[in-house]
Every structure is written in structure tokens, then in C-alpha cells.
Symmetry: D2
């Protein structure tokens, strides 16, 4: 008898075919909470610089789930026991690991919320889904929270070499067209193994890991911290701040109902805990809500808000200057004078320039280390295991400062 | 002395680097009319089926401009004279060839407008830009309208083997991940030549052309006419029609101001001609406006509108059945009964099912033929030149009928 | 405890990593009979036209084995039972399916041997290896000979959609750079299923299969039957025939000892059966032997042999003309006259021109059909199942005639 | 009138189409000296490890010529003047830059010759061709020898960022399948510029250059210095040394005539200078001659030579151990004892083991530096210009020692 193939197959431009491993996974993907990720771009405003970078969190989450399947196959083939329930749980955990991301992913994380990172929200949503799915997500949540005793599962979800990073470096490289960020995912996956329930890299994989770290660094500087995208982010954040200020003084600023809550004030953890509707609303907002605000605000009677919205919509970005030192008072004052000369109201100055800094620290200072399993059976930190001179160098934190300001403001005021 | 490189370079995941050939091209791309294309997806709702297909008209237009540069280089190298002004004009014409596309490209072309196709609007916008750019687009417009005497320029913009098709087949294949649609663009370009000011294919390029035609057909059936995307389109169109009906009976249906005009009634050519603001408004609407309506309408008190919006937003699509013959009365009646049994009001039935047809005719029946330049110097239509048995077969029109309906409606009413 | 990974991994530019599935497979690959395939180019003389096409039978055999693993995984995932011994046997059978190829694969098949095709020799070698490996190849041989009751295994080894074809079309496209020959191997593999122990294609795979057939046809005309390669083949064959003629008249013609047997006379099946050393010698000859002869013969005192060797070595190929009809007596006579005028001895004329024909018949007229499994459960031949107009067209046999001759002969005599 | 396209187009799997820029280039490629490169593998014995690495010097030379065309186009577009004769000369110089390579490229450079590197031979061959082509190679030779006043041409032929390296890193990555070695050739080329007639990298190209240096280092350790290939090289060299020893004692060792000269003794520069036939003979030997010797020697009555030939032919390689320190006397003695115990004659010991070292010094210690053109107009060495921590690290020399020996010798003696 012919057995119907119930396993759904998706086309992914990065990996070709992706097979959904179970009905539960299928149902989770169909759920509106997960479907929302279709409307959250993976790279926020990066498409201002790399027009191809329109890919969504939805694709990334499914890609990471696919890689989880691949790595578990490889680990099994090396003689490690992976139970069927563990496999499904690990795939679900990585599938949902980003479900707490709000509009434009990282861009607005600290503008809409206060003291609530997306990982925290992810946990809340996973618990909510667990209720809806009769506790079937228990093990996935354990893995995600790292309370499951086989530590390597959490390490595959969240560590220096997790399936999250492997997918996003590769995928972001693909969609931006920054070829140097492309990594040999297959190769890295085949180099992973388990040693005393912890994830390790086989010694012969050292070069592959280093190549990966280098690709990641390239992506940081060429993509994730690209100054043009930062300029766009500054404008967007300032627009939201201006809207919030106007509302605080009683002026009308139209916005979708669910987003409104987050414009009235930054939402903190207490609000999420105490008011059930806060999370409900959060689960309804996405890139579309922000963009439709921008489009509406272009016609707002407040000139500052309208200017910010228009600059963003038509990609008339602020000029931005990166430097190794913070910009001097003198430089900043020169910018301020330029703005004042062009008729900016002194109390509105802050909307027309910004001083900030970016750094690759976030990716360097991580608790979890990469461990190398030597042929001798010994496990060593990669920095010690390597005689490669660049590994240490890769760990250095680089911080850059920037000053950005509206140079075209005179056109409008 | 070091000469500053003023030519902007863009990263395109499909072709790698794309160089902007002139300042005029740069300024056109920076113009808000062109920036709008960032917010119009190339493939409408295809990302419902192929999640990677989020690429925009913006990318496609720049890609087509890039290919135009490539083909003109190749034609020059074969000894054809291309003047610098012709080169720029041809690149501008193809850059702007799709600027008249509205939200979701083809999907809503006949819902928002009546008797005005996107080519007509493109012409109007090109004329508008020509005014803004002091007549610098004159030659580009001539080429676009095919009034320029060197016919091959228009053929490179709009024919069976134009740079538009070459880019979109290739690009759509790339972003959907449907590898079979990938074509050897380089190879085809190198096979093109000019004969008596008309575009021809060198005889040795026959197989390449055939492979291209086949890839195109594959893309039609696997992507452009995919039944799941059609189901999504049906729901979106019905939502807009319901909104229009509600408004016509005086009910309030919120929508962005510029879109509102097109919801009040279908706009025809006269409106565009007579009211200057119609085109202005059209130039302000994009995918975001439609999607923000959908998100708002989810909460509309009209249950039909709310149901349609929700189905679309959460991708709960209508069931769709393709067949060679139109669905019989019996089948249609069965669907209607099912809907009535689930409490649908008879006068609202039309919002819950649809009968239609799709066909590859649009791409087959074209005026412009592909001409082969034989080694003997003779020019022949490809169908005659070819001893390849499939060329004729490829020209056959295939029409398919579909019936689609809401099978989950009982969940909601 | 850490379990050592004994499974060898190979780098394949086409598929990335290829894992050797078992120690037996590893040992077979290490065997000198299989190592010989490193020195047999997959595409004979195609690198005369496509310089990248230097890949060996060795790579192809391993690639086909890899695909066999992939397809068996996919078939299992669809609920078909594949036993571990069957899996290994199928991978071995496809690994060894081409082990009977001699120097330059197909090119010399009918020059060195008479009435013994490479499949027959493959069988003899498999039996020989089976002895050396204590009968461990029994099941593989059954599958290869199609005596195993689960017919689909043989169909995966040798049919219209076998892993052999899938690998070589893909691989040859990769190394020649003929992008149009690239096929979505993953996609096709995922469309295969088993129905009553026979290989079938799921109905939704129709387009993929058609794309595959088209790619195959493209490869036939652009690569496998490329006229320049044919011209090279003609010269090589004529050189070997001249050497044989010289030897038959008692002249000395140096050649490696094992190759000598096959130069003395064409070897037939009886020789292989009756003299054990014939097969031994065959297993020692490869491309190197032929090429070293050519290099030696450049200095042979017989001007005809020396001319042929030099033409081949320095790629001074014969001119070749393809046509739909056989060349007329008149054309042939013109060539002969040209040769005679340039001082060719009438009795040597045959070495300086050739009349022949090529056809894609070999790939069209196959016993095994592609069967489609309809959603209704019914199985149909693809020609009937398809409403695609090109399937039938693809089956048409095209035959071309050629005349090739030395046009530069006067330079040398 | 239709102008026939005389420019030949080649298919290259790495770059797609490659156009031959002139008739002179075409004629050079057709010349037997250049055709010989078809029979010299780019990577010597690397296909023992990476079976795909069968590509030839022929392909590499044409690829480098293609990149030279690309970079000159880009430099012109930035406003640098490149004359047509300079363009052709630069393309010819890079096309011929490796024509002095002998069999198996670097592998036998110091076994067949003494004090004559392949660059020296390249020069001699270029002069020889220049005679044959009536002095048309004058400018190319000037560029190659760096006597032409516009220094950047030589830098494009031979420096840290020359078209040679760019092609081979990329090509070797492609054919080995070591994806980490793939570099964004287009990107690097677009970052190059000319400053006071010297090659510089635009400041924004820093990351690209670093990625390139890293890819190069990866290729060194994963490919060029792979221990398995080194083991193969050791065996091949020992076979040739044994043959030479046997001949020196009057024993017969068959080999092709032109190779024989180089087996009789190592050829030094004087021989090349004084005997015209030495270079003639060199221009006739290639991989085939070596391989045919190996195949013949398998049956030689000297057991040592026969063992070495067989080991090589069937890829029964010596065991090899890499270490940071030179192997100790103790280790070496252990190996010797093992060999003696297995019946090796003490005076033949040297053929069964080898102590050596490898290092990436060759690629680090280069005279030519990479210069960065800062936005300020200043030119700086990359090490100073970069705030990237890894640049310095990349320059560190790593040396590894190895001991390799026949562990299976007892099987044969």
C-alpha cells in the first residue's frame, strides 16, 4: 500500500528543500504567533544598504530548525544517542527561539520596551503556546532555558556555534550578497561532536571554526553595524520618540491600536507580567504597523515628526561619521550650530543629530566557549587548542563612535 | 592625481556588484517615486508559498538596468555602434519600465484600477519625471514607446528576450529557490546580436534560447500560477471588494488617505487624465497601505470583512482545486451548500468562494518573435529555424480552471 | 565514552561533503581496480572543448553512491522499508556500475574491444571483486543484474531516472560550466517514491522530471555530441587503427605492455572468457597509456601515425561539418581531392577524413519508462500522465551526420 | 552589414564565459607550448586528497588572463588611462606567467631541475615565443620582468594581490570543494586603484583584503600543505630518485626520451643556457610522462622502484605525522627499526621514510606589500592602515615538521 507522505516540504533558497519533521512543528508554524514573523524583517533596516536583505524572521527560524535536524543526524551517525522526543524538542526550541522579536527585530528593542529583552518575551510566548498545545512544548522549553540535563541541546540552541548563528550568518550573507560572509555550514556541522554531554568541535575542525569566526566578524562590520543602516535606525527611533513626546503633551498622533500602547510609554517587565493584554498586543505588532505610522506621519502637522517620517520613507538619511574616539564637543557644537542656523528650534535639536557608539562586544564577550576535542581525548578551549595566531585576535573588542546629523534639514524648514 | 570614483556600487545577491552608470541614474534611483518600489514586492503574494520571495520591484528594476549594461557591452564588442546617450537612455528606460506598478504588482492591478494597465501609468510617471529632470528622459521615453528608429533598443526593453524577462526569471528563481528556473543570463546575452537594427539571436544560441523558454514555462507553473498564491490573491481581492461595498453603503472602513480614493471606486483612465491628484495619490500607495488595512480590518465589526482580513493575515487560505475543465454547476452548488450550512448569508456567498481560470497565454501570444540569425546571414523565426522539436510545443497555450472556497468558515461564524 | 567516528568524509565540489557509509565501501574504493578510475576521465575528450571537464569516473562513481544514500533516506522517510543490507548493496552496486569502463570511457569502447560493452566487463569485475571480498557483493550483484525481487533497486541503478544519470548530468554540467545542464537533484530525489516495488514519480514532480529531461537533452547537444570533441575522437581512433595496421605488417610500434594486447587486435568476448590475463590487462590500462602512446608516436617514423599523434597532442583538430542529411558523394569527393592534392597516398586517405553520424537515440529509446504515481493512486506512463506538450517532443530522435577531414594536412606532408 | 564576431568564447566553470581578447592571444593559446599546460595539473597530487582537483595550468592561466581584463576595465572606469597595447600585453604576460611549470607543477621543481626555478624557465619560453611571434611579446615581457615604467602592471602580474593569486585561490577552492577558500574576486577587483602608477587598495576594501588573506591561509593549511598530498609527493620524488640511482649504476630504467635527460641528472641553469635541446625537451614533458613511467616501473625488477611505483599508483601512501618540533632521533630510529625488521636493506632505508618540514613562509615573506589608499589621499601599508587585529596575526610564519614512512612495507618484501 502506498503511504501518503504527510511531511510538508518547503523551498528555501539557501538550503534548497526543507522538510518539516512532524505535525506538531507544522501546527506551530501555522499558528498566528509564528506567522507574525513573516512580517518581521530579519535585518531591520539593512535593506537601506543591501536591497536584497528583505528576508524575514520566519525564514530564519525555519532555516535554524532545518540545521538542527542536520546536526542531530550527524551527531547520531557518530554514535551519540538522540531520542525521537529530544530531536523534536530541540527543533521546536530553535524554531521558536526568536518568536519574541518585535518590529524590525533589534532596531526598536530598546525603544518600545524597557528592561525586557526579546529572549524574555520569547519565553513568555513559548509558555503561552505550551498551554495551547497541551504541554507538548515542555521539553523544548527546558532545553531553551537550559534546565535539561543534556547540556549540548541548549548549546545547539544558544552558544558560539549554535544553529541560530550558523543560519543567520549564512542567510544574511546570501540575501545581502556579501559573499565573504558565506560559511561552510555543512562542514562545521560535521565537525561537531558531543563529549560528556557537552558540544565540542573535533580537532580537525579548527580551521573551519576560525573561518566561521572570521566570516562573522566580516558580517558585523560590513552588514550588522553598517553606518548607513545605523543612520536609518536613528531616524526611525527619533520619529517614535517624537511621536511619544507629542502624545505626552496631548497631541493626536495616529497609530494602530495595538502599537499605541507601546507609543504611550515604554513597556517594562511589570506591565507584561500584570496585564495579560500587553503580551496579546505585542503579538499583534510587526514591521507593517511601524511603516504605516511612518507613512501616516509624513502628513502630520508637527514639522519635526513629518520631517523625520519623510526622511525615513524616502531614504534621505542623516549624514554619519564613524571614528575611533567619541566626537569632540567642538564637532558636536558645529553640528548644532549648523542646525540652529537652518532654523531648528533649540528644544528640538535632539531630533536632528545623534551621538552614539557601536561595538562588536556583543558577539565577543560570551559566556559559552568553543571547546575543542583533541585527538588525545582531552578537551581544550579553542584559544588554547589553537596554534593559529588569529583566534586570539578575533576576540578583541572594537568600539566605534559615531555622530550623525541631518545635513539637508534646510530643505524643509 | 587620484580621481575619485563617483560611480556608486550596489550589492545584488543575484549578480554580485552592480555599478550605477551615471549621476542621472543615481538621481532617478534616489527619487521618491523610485524609492516607492522598495515597498512593492515583485511577486505579490508568492511568499505565501515560497517564503524567500520577498524581493521588491526596486531590486528587479536595478537588476534589469544592470543586464542592459551587460548586453550593450556585448553588442558593442561585436562591432555594433552604441552611442553613450543611447546607452544611458536604454538603461533609464528599463530602470523605469515597472515604475507604474501598484501595491502587490499584478495582484491588484484590476481591482484598484479599471482599464488602466501598469504600462500606461509607467508612461505617465516617466513623463512626470522627465519634467522634473529637464527633459533628460526624452530618449529613454522614445525607446520605451518604441518611437526611436533603432528598434532593437525597444526590443531589449520589451520583447520575448528583453532584459526585463531575463532579470525576473533569474531573480524569481533565486529568491523562490526554484532552481529549475535559473537561466544562463550571461550565455543568452552573449548570443544576442543586431541585424538591420533589430535584435537577433546567433544560430548557435538556439539551445540556450530554448532552455530559457523552458525555464520560463517552469516558473509559470511552479511559481507565477501557483494555486496557493492564487488562493491568497482571491481572499485579498475579496477583502478589498467587501470594503468597497461597505463604504458604498455608508459604513466606515478605515484606510490610509491616498489608498481611500482607490477604495471608493475603481479608478479609470479619465480620472488619471483629469485629476492631477489621482496620479499623486497612486505614487504614494504601496504594499504597506494594503497590509495595514488588512491588519486594521481584522477588528472591523463587519464579520465578513473581518473574516477575510483574518484569513489573509494568518494565512488561513481558501481551499483551491485546479482542473482542465471549468468546475461543473454541481461542484459549485456543493460548495455553496456547504457555505450556507455553515451560516453564510446568501447575499454574502460571493465572498467565500470563487470560480476563475489561469493560463500561460499571456506569455505565449506575443507580437514580438525571436529571430535567429543563421550562419548564412539569413534571418528566420525561431520556430522555423529550429529543428528542435520542443520549440513549437512550448508555444501551446494551457488554460486551467479553478474553484476555491472557504472550508474553515464554520470556525468563525 | 567518546565513540570514534570511523566514517570517512570526502570533499566533493558538487555536493560538498560525501560520507562513506561503511568499511566495505571504504575498502572497495581503496582497491586498485577502483583507484584505476582516477585515471579515466568521465568525458573522454570533452576537455578539448570545455577545459574544465577533466573530472574522472572515480568522482562520478562516488557521487552516484552519495545520491543513492540520499534517495534511500528519502524513500525511507516516506514510509518504505529499506533494510541495512539492501542500503549497502545498492550503494555498492552504483559505486561499481562503471568500473568496466576503459581508457577515455566511451571513446574507445568500440576500438579496443569487439562485441564487449563496458556493462559486460563491469559484471566480470564485480564477480572478481566478490571473490576477493568473500561474497559480500552478492546482493549488490543481484541488484545490478536485476535479479533481486525488489525491482526499484535496479531502477535506481539503471533507468531513466537512476542515480547514475542524476549524478552525471549534474556533474558534467558543473565541470563543463554549461549551466543549463544543472538539475535540481534534491528536488527530483524528493519526488521519487515506490509503488508495488517499482520506482515512481509523485504527480507533483512532473515539471521537475521534464526539466531534467530537458537539461539532459541540452547536455547531449552542447556537450556529449559536441562536434569538436567528435573530431578529436576521430583522430584518436584513427591513430590507434594506424598503429594496429602498422603492427599487422610487422612494424614496431611502442606501447605499454598491457595496452599492447588490445592494439594487436580487437578483443572479443571469447578472449575475456578464455584468457584470464585479458581481464587482468584490461584492469591495468587507463587514459595514461593512451596518452603516453600518443606522445611516443609523435616521433614515429611512419608519417601518418606521427601526423595523427601530433594533431591530437597539439589539438590541431580536423574540420568537421554537421548536417541533417549524410554528406553527398560530391562533398566527400571534394575532400578526397583536396587530400590527394596535398600529397596523401590514396591508400592512406581513410586516415585523413571520416564520415559518420551521431544521434541522441541512445538516451531516448530505453526500455524503462518513467512512471507517474497519480494522486488517485493510479500509475501512468509519463507521456500519458502529462498534459505538458513537450514531453512527447523530448522523446523524438534526432540524428545528425558529419564529415570531418584534415584541412591542414599540407603543412605537414 | 553584419560584422562577424571573431572573438572566441570559452566556458569556464568558475567565471562562466571567458572571452579571448585578441587574435594574438588566441594564437598563443593554440601554440603547442601553451597546449602542453593542458597536461600539467595545477595542484600536483592534491587530487589524492580532493578528488575534484584535476584542473590544469591551462585553465588557471586563462582564468588569470580573464581577471586581468576585468581589473583593467575597472581601473579604466575609475579614470585611469590604459592603452590598448598595454591591455593586451598585460593579458599576455599573465597568460604566460606559468608556462615554465614542469610536470606536476611545484612537486618536481627541485627534483628534475637544480637551481632553475619555473619563473626563470618562463622567461626563456616567453623569449622563444617572442621570436616566433615577431617581437609582439616585447611589452608583455617588460611587464613580466618589471622593467616597464608603469609599475602597477607588474603588480597585477606578481604581487600580494595579483591576478595569479586571485584566480588560483578561487579556482582551487572551486575544484577542491573547500568552500572556505572561495573569495569575492569581483569585490576585490573593484577595490583596486592606481596611485602614482602603483597598485593600491581603496580604504573601504580593507575587510575584503583581510577576508582574502584569510581564505588564502585556509587554502594553505587545508589544501596546499595537506599532509596526505605531501606523503604522495615524497613517494613520487623517491621513485624518481631511485630511478636515477639505478641508471647511475648502469641499470636499464625505461622512460620517455625527453624525460630521460632529466632523469640522467638534475639539469642546472648552464645546461639550459648552453644546450638548446634542453629547453626543447623540457617543453615536451608533462604529467603524462611521469605517470607513464610510474605505470611502467610497477613491473621493474628492482623491488624498491617497483614498490614505490605501486604505492603511488594505487595510492598506498606513507603514514605521515606532523608536529611543531622536528621529530626526535628516537622517533626516527623507531621507524628505521620497523623498516629493518621488515627486511628493508639498510642502504635502501632512505626510500622508505622521510623527514621534512613545511611552512607558509613562502606566502608571507613577500617583498611587495599591500598598500591602502586612505580617503585622505595618503597611502599606507595595510598593517598600519588597519585597525583590524588580525592583519598582523595573518603575517606570522608557521612551520611544521613531518616524519613519514612506509608502514605497509612488510606486505611487499
Amino acid at each position: 500500500m502506498y503511504i501518503q507522505n504527510k511531511r510538508k516540504i518547503l523551498n528555501d533558497p539557501v538550503y534548497g528543500f526543507v522538510t518539516l519533521p512532524s505535525e506538531l512543528v507544522y501546527d506551530l508554524i501555522e499558528h498566528p504567533y509564528f506567522q507574525r514573523l513573516r512580517r518581521v524583517k530579519q535585518l531591520g533596516l539593512t535593506d537601506f544598504v543591501y536591497p536584497g536583505a528583505l528576508h524575514s524572521r520566519f525564514q530564519h527560524a525555519i532555516g535554524a530548525m532545518h540545521l538542527m535536524g542536520q546536526v542531530l543526524n550527524s551527531l547520531e551517525a557518530k554514535g551519540n544517542l538522540i531520542m525521537e522526543v529530544e530531536r523534536e524538542a530541540a527543533q521546536i526550541a530553535i524554531l521558536l527561539h526568536d518568536i519574541g522579536h518585535g518590529p524590525f527585530s533589534h532596531v526598536l528593542e530598546y525603544t518600545l520596551l524597557e528592561g525586557v529583552n526579546h529572549e524574555k518575551i520569547t519565553e513568555m510566548i513559548m509558555e503561552k503556546l505550551n498551554l495551547a498545545f497541551d504541554g507538548k512544548l515542555n521539553l523544548a522549553i527546558e532545553m531553551f532555558k537550559n534546565t535539561y540535563h543534556r547540556k549540548f541541546f541548549n548549546q545547539l540552541i544558544s552558544s558560539q556555534l549554535d544553529m541560530d548563528r550558523l543560519d543567520y550568518i549564512n542567510r544574511d550573507s546570501f540575501f545581502t550578497g556579501v559573499a565573504e560572509g558565506s560559511i561552510g555550514v555543512d562542514r562545521i556541522i560535521k565537525m561537531l561532536d558531543i563529549h560528556e554531554e557537552n558540544l565540542v568541535v573535533e580537532e580537525k575542525g579548527l580551521l573551519s571554526v576560525e573561518t566561521f569566526l572570521n566570516a562573522r566578524r566580516t558580517m558585523y562590520w560590513q552588514v550588522y553595524l553598517h553606518k548607513t543602516a545605523i543612520s536609518g535606525e536613528v531616524i526611525l527611533i527619533k520619529a517614535l520618540e517624537r511621536a511619544r513626546e507629542l502624545k505626552s503633551t496631548g497631541q493626536q498622533v495616529d497609530s494602530p491600536k495595538d502599537l499605541e500602547k507601546f507609543l504611550d510609554r515604554k513597556i517594562g517587565l511589570t506591565a507584561f507580567m500584570e496585564e495579560k493584554e500587553t503580551l496579546e498586543s505585542f503579538l499583534k505588532i510587526d514591521d507593517i504597523d511601524i511603516l504605516s505610522c511612518i507613512k501616516t506621519w509624513v502628513n502630520h502637522k508637527d514639522k519635526v515628526l513629518s520631517f523625520l517620517a519623510q526622511s525615513f520613507l524616502n531614504r534621505k538619511l542623516y549624514k554619519i561619521k564613524l571614528s575611533d574616539e567619541s566626537p569632540s564637543e567642538k564637532e558636536i557644537n558645529k553640528v548644532k550650530e549648523h542646525l540652529l542656523e537652518n532654523g531648528i528650534n533649540p528644544k528640538d535639536l535632539k531630533y536632528f543629530f545623534h551621538v552614539g557608539s557601536i561595538s562588536n562586544a556583543g558577539y565577543v564577550l560570551e559566556n559559552s566557549r568553543i571547546n575543542i576535542l583533541k585527538k588525545s581525548g582531552e578537551v581544550q578551549d579553542i584559544v588554547e587548542a589553537s596554534d593559529l595566531p588569529t583566534i586570539k585576535a578575533l576576540g578583541k573588542i572594537v568600539k566605534k563612535h559615531y555622530l550623525c546629523w541631518s545635513k539637508d534639514v534646510y530643505l524643509h524648514f
